[in-house]
């Protein structure tokens, strides 16, 4: 029941926020915060009361559309729970970071934020493929509104592009889901969208590959994998800060989650055959993202391209499919959520102050706003993989794991970490150091922003120095997934 409650609370808080905005402009913000806080408590409760014996910490299962064998089936294991925690944490961050940025239509804004969080939470919880697709598509609509209404200059273009890319790939996934559904019926005589029943459906290798590709494309667009990434720089750049945080921190993770949960376990054979291609594309993405980030002048675009690079590690880790690489992939997903989320918050704060994102028009901000600059430096260092911080653990584990699978690609991928040093330091150098020629009069981090940055710094330090509790939380889930896939690379 807790699982249903988690989603209902978010949806209800969104509606309440929209209604309350009629009376008080600040009310939607507090209602949203309260809604997410309740969800955090629910998630903690779920974690505390988890059963040690079953695969799922908790699950609910209702008939939904019996005519098609569709169930409203939610279930959480360690992996989904961590993703949920990340969702709620970044949810709070995105409400806080729009505290002064969003002044128009505050109620409708928070409705959209809450509903996109609800959609993302359902994606992480759904184990019925129809329900999964339902949530997958549903989280797009509020995100679309966030970009299209509260975005920056080219918001219409960016929002439409984002929607078209994800819809197109999503429909291909729907075709694949249906194909799998009928193939499963042909083999067993049962019509079902249940994840656990569809595992191990006997398929000819060509069919398996085709169906797998449908899923893969949907997740690769979300992840994003080169060459399906072109929506990302636009969407991230044009979205309001909260939108960028949710996009980078959470929505990209749904792609990684989908690959982990569905693609490889459902189609181990095809995934194995396809692994070299996916790995190569991942490594291309790592390098390409880094190079592109290096050559951008728009601060948000730089951060957006670093996402392409980092999520390349996730893809690389997943398709290396051994214990270490998988741990690394999940760690990277979590840490990237924190570090990139924080960077978007800071960049958004900077834009609010300077009304520009062009690093050519910055320089010497450190003297004007030392705390803001120091925080940005910290998160840039985290993002470039400084040992002792979370991102390093993730990417390092991916590389150790993938080394056992493909040495050449691993060597190239590790160059990506090197390249990230260049773009991160260039960004710091051009925007924050250098001569102070503009005589900026800008406010430094206020307590609200300081709190956000502080908590995220603490989180990244914790993940970097003592990641064991987190690794332990999702380890059983990963073991189960590996059992399903039956040792992809052995």
């Amino acid at each position: 029941m807790t699982l249903v409650l988690i989603i209902v609370v978010l949806l209800a808080a969104g509606i309440l926020a929209a209604i309350a905005a009629r009376w008080n402009a600040q009310a939607p913000r507090w209602i949203s915060l309260a809604g997410i806080a309740i969800d955090i408590l629910l998630a903690v409760h779920l974690f505390a009361g988890r059963s040690q014996h079953s695969q799922w910490f908790a699950e609910v299962n209702y008939d939904w559309v019996p005519a098609f064998g569709i169930h409203f089936h939610l279930a959480a294991d360690g992996l989904s729970l961590l993703m949920l925690m990340l969702t709620f944490f970044l949810g709070i961050v995105s409400v806080l970071c729009s505290w002064t940025e969003i002044r128009e239509n505050v109620g409708f804004f928070h409705l959209n934020v809450m509903w996109v969080l609800a959609g993302i939470a359902s994606v992480f919880l759904a184990v019925d493929l129809f329900l999964f697709y339902f949530a997958w598509e549903l989280m797009l609509v509020p995100m679309y509104f966030l970009i299209a209404i509260w975005g920056h200059e080219r918001r219409v273009y960016a929002a439409t592009k984002f929607f078209l890319f994800t819809q197109c790939s999503g429909l291909l996934m729907l075709l694949s889901i249906l194909a799998l559904y009928f193939m499963h019926h042909r083999a067993t005589g049962i019509y079902t969208f249940e994840y656990s029943q569809l595992l191990g459906t006997p398929l000819s290798s060509l069919t398996e590959l085709c169906i797998m590709l449908g899923f893969f494309v949907a997740f690769a667009v979300k992840l994003p994998m080169v060459p399906f990434h072109t929506w990302l720089p636009d969407a991230h750049t044009e979205a309001p800060t909260a939108g960028s945080v949710i996009l980078a921190g959470l929505m990209l993770k749904t792609g990684g989650y989908g690959l982990l949960r569905f693609v490889v376990p459902l189609f181990p054979g095809a995934a194995h055959a396809f692994a070299p291609v996916a790995q190569s594309l991942a490594v291309i993405g790592i390098i390409y993202g880094a190079v592109m980030a290096f050559s951008q002048t728009d601060l948000k675009r730089i951060v957006a391209y670093t996402s392409v690079s980092h999520l390349g590690f996730v893809l690389f880790g997943i398709f290396s499919w051994n214990a270490l690489a998988l741990q690394g992939a999940v760690m990277t997903m979590i840490c990237h959520g924190l570090s990139t989320g924080a960077l978007f918050v800071l960049v958004g704060g900077l834009q609010e102050r300077l009304h520009t994102r062009d690093i050519g028009r910055m320089g010497g901000i450190w003297t004007a706003a030392p705390r803001l600059s120091a925080a940005t430096l910290f998160f840039s260092l985290a993002s470039l993989g400084l040992p002792g911080l979370g991102d390093f653990v993730g990417e390092f584990l991916v590389l150790i794991g993938s080394y056992q699978v493909n040495v050449t690609l691993t060597v190239i991928a590790s160059l990506g970490i090197l390249a990230s040093t260049f773009y991160a330091l260039r960004m710091m150098q051009k925007a924050f150091f250098g001569p102070e020629t503009h005589s900026f009069r800008i406010a430094d981090l206020n307590p609200r922003e300081g709190l956000m940055a502080g908590v995220m710094i603490a989180g990244l330090l914790w993940l970097g120095i003592f990641p064991r509790p987190v690794l332990k939380t999702f380890a059983p889930a990963m073991d189960t997934l590996q059992q399903y896939a039956g040792g992809l690379n052995r």
Binding site: W64, A67, F68, Y133, L138, T160, L164, L174, L175
Partner: protein, 474 residues
Amino acid sequence: MNASNTLALLPLLLLASSCIVVMLAMAVKRSHALTAALTLIGLAGSFVSIFVAAQDAPRQVTSLLLIDSYALFYMGLIIASTAAVVVLSYSYLARRPVQREEIYLLLLLSTLGCVTLVASVHFVSFLLGLEILSVSLYAMVAYCKDAEQGVEAGIKYLILASASVAFLLMGAALIYADTGSMAFSGIARRAIGTASPILVLAGIALTVTGIGFKLGVVPFHLWTPDVYQGAPAPVTAFVATASKTAMVALLLRFLGPALHYRAVLVLFSLIAIASMCAGNFLAIRQNNVKRILAYSSIAHFGYILVAFQVGTTLAAESVAFYLVAYTVTLLVAFGIVAVLSTTEGDAGDLEDYRGLFWRRPLLAGIFTVALLSLAGIPATMGFLGKFYILAAGAASSAWLLMFFLVITSVAGLFYYLRIVMTLYASPTTDAIPTRRLSAASAVLLSGLAAVLIWFGVYSAPLLNLIHAVMSTMS
């Protein structure tokens, strides 16, 4: 005619008699409200009588009409959507400088035509129903004769429809020449015989031309945008929903036995692909909401034809569900156009909708739901409709068609999003002032939008009904 036949025909009889009642009432006293009320009562009575007729369905009444649950299901859909059109027409006509009462008579007549069509199993009743429908539609399309494109649209519709009926008659003649029967079952008996009876196939092709015209599928679609734009918004809603629903229902019944001819299947695949592509890609460049919806309807009937390939009960079910979803969605969409219309004309131009959300959040919200449903986004009926059709396609491995469906519906998304974007854009200062919504329209539109979401999320009751209805058919 014995008593049970009368009972079975009750929906048709009640419709026909309410035509007469409305006509006489108008002769006695011209009153807009009274006429509309009488029409609604007639429709309600006819709707209720469906349940009476369902008691001993299926029943063959003469060789012309078959009152089975299939026919009754579509009758219910058609009558309900006509009732919605009546409600929309009432507030729409109240502010147009035209004679107001006749449109209800025409609506009742054309509904009678539609209802006859869905029960037809014979060419005679088919043509009878089609002509009753078409002749009243000509007048309805040109109803606002002072409007710019009204008369043009009416004449265009008249000429093309007459030509298409000529095709249809020729087709019927060819089929009769081969099978010696005017009943649709004649084709079924013939189909068991020789491999490809050339006369029957030619007849089917010509008949499909006639039907295709009414459905507005490529290459018979040329009238669609002009008529959609020129006709008054409630009439457009009727053309788009009730009349097309009736034609699809008839087509499925007529073609059921012919669907295992390879040539017929190929023909329908081509029409489906052409409609999906043309409809979706041509809509992208339009700037008038009614024209956009016209092109989108071409595409949507392309989607429906995809399901025809399957030729199983699953196909009939998916078509039925899609039609329900499409009808509700379009009633909402054209309902919005109708309530935003002014004394001068319909709110067709995309610019009329700029920033609607910030002025009229309820209307814009309802319109958004309809557009998302047309685009096939989950939590709306439109999504489940598309899902149903894709499921039917997947069950019969029609991958090429499904691929086209996916690609073209992404193109379709583009222009739906364009309208959505306009609704939520910052409002211009010289936007036309919108009048207060009449209570009836507000209730109707919010109710229909609620139906879209309710059945989009919890569709089991509707699916079970459709499953029960369609499984009795074959």
